[in-house]
């Protein structure tokens, strides 16, 4: 243990995944996909007092706007599976609101694809 960087890496190992997730299992895949958008619910009030440090940290990151599940994992550098479990718990507890992606359907696909195409053309010419 020579430098502070090495010490930090060592500490991170000590946070066991099952502690962070409070032993919960993976949420339903449909419930929190990689691109489900989340933000903090308004008026958290006193309810956040019992949250773990990791729950509080994820809630903090979500407090200033919408992010996808993948982005939250990317910013916090926590494993994706752990992030999904913690976010699912926060959602069940009413701390987060979600915008799931639309389910695949032919007509919806076509409208969305057109929107994507026009968006790419507008943005990149």
């Amino acid at each position: 243990m020579t430098g502070s960087e090495e010490f930090e890496l060592e500490s991170a190992d000590l946070v066991r995944a099952y502690v962070i997730t409070k032993g919960r299992g993976l949420p339903d895949d449909q419930q929190l996909s990689l691109i489900t958008l989340l933000t903090a619910a308004p008026e958290q009030g006193q309810r956040t007092l019992h949250l773990s440090p990791e729950e509080q940290r994820l809630l903090d990151i979500c407090s200033a706007g919408y992010l996808s599940v993948a982005e939250i994992a990317g910013h916090t550098k926590l494993p994706l599976g752990v992030v999904r479990i913690v976010l699912a718990g926060l959602t069940e507890g009413g701390h987060l609101v979600t915008r799931p992606p639309v389910p695949r359907a032919r007509q919806a696909d076509k409208e969305i694809l057109l929107e994507v195409l026009h968006g790419l053309q507008a943005k990149f010419g």
């Binding site: 500490s11 991170a12 190992d13 000590l14 946070v15 066991r16 995944a17 099952y18 502690v19 299992g25 993976l26 895949d29 996909s33 990689l34 691109i35 489900t36 958008l37 933000t39 440090p53 990791e54 940290r57 903090d60 990151i61 200033a64 706007g65 919408y66 992010l67 996808s68 993948a70 982005e71 994992a73 990317g74 910013h75 916090t76 550098k77 494993p79 994706l80 599976g81 992030v83 479990i85 915008r99 992606p101 639309v102 389910p103 032919r106 696909d109 076509k110 969305i112 694809l113 057109l114 929107e115 994507v116 195409l117 026009h118 968006g119 790419l120 507008a122 943005k123 990149f124 010419g125």
Partner: protein, 203 residues
């Protein structure tokens, strides 16, 4: 012993990191796949509005990772990374681009990425065509429509498209486009080709 994240571990994010108009946005995704070092991260970085992020999964299931970590500290676990970027295309649609190496052993990650994806752009190195077979197989296995983007960055003359189609055993209507993954407009043009093809398929 649990290390408490300090405030330095969770810096506040810049406003531009958040999805603009998130409350009305529909998130969609397109996969950018290809073999190791073909230019996936470069492609995503050239076109993403955010600095590309990566996320890691330890083994294929968290449950397995949890069991593994009990008591056995320092044991090496397989870590898989996927890179991704974001493009806000309108007030209604925000597009995520996900890239990961095409290896079947990371099944959980592939299922996560492929589920609900609009389609896939397969980046191909013309000098290493055989390396792309496994990725193309995987994308077909997940039933995703795809276009081929030949990442042409070194100025070598391109193989004739017909030869490339034959080598990769492509269907006649599968689009093949040349791109320079370092160039924003070139990457966007490759994506546009894919989306046009997906629209044709959806009609």
């Amino acid at each position: 012993m649990v290390s408490r994240p300090s405030s330095a571990d969770a810096p506040g994010l810049d406003a531009q990191q958040y999805v603009q108009g998130g409350a009305t946005q529909t998130a969609v995704k397109i996969l950018v796949v290809g073999h190791f070092a073909v230019g996936k991260t470069t492609f995503i970085g050239s076109i993403s509005e955010i600095e590309p992020l990566s996320t890691e999964e330890t083994m294929t299931r968290v449950a397995a990772a949890v069991d593994d970590l009990k008591g056995v500290r320092g044991k090496t676990t397989t870590t898989v990374a996927m890179d991704f970027g974001r493009l806000t295309l309108s007030e209604r649609v925000v597009l995520y681009l996900f890239g990961t190496p095409g290896q079947l052993r990371f099944v959980q990650m592939w299922e996560d990425m492929a589920r609900g994806a609009l389609g896939a752009l397969i980046l191909v190195d013309p000098e290493r065509l055989a390396d792309s077979f496994a990725v193309i197989d995987l994308i077909e296995q997940y039933g995703l429509d795809y276009a081929i983007a030949v990442n042409h960055f070194d100025g070598n003359p391109l193989r004739a498209e017909a030869a490339l189609r034959e080598a990769l055993d492509l269907l006649d209507d599968t689009p093949v486009v040349t791109c320079d993954a370092r160039d924003e407009k070139s990457s966007a043009a490759a994506l546009t080709t894919l989306v046009r093809y997906l629209l044709d398929r959806a009609s």
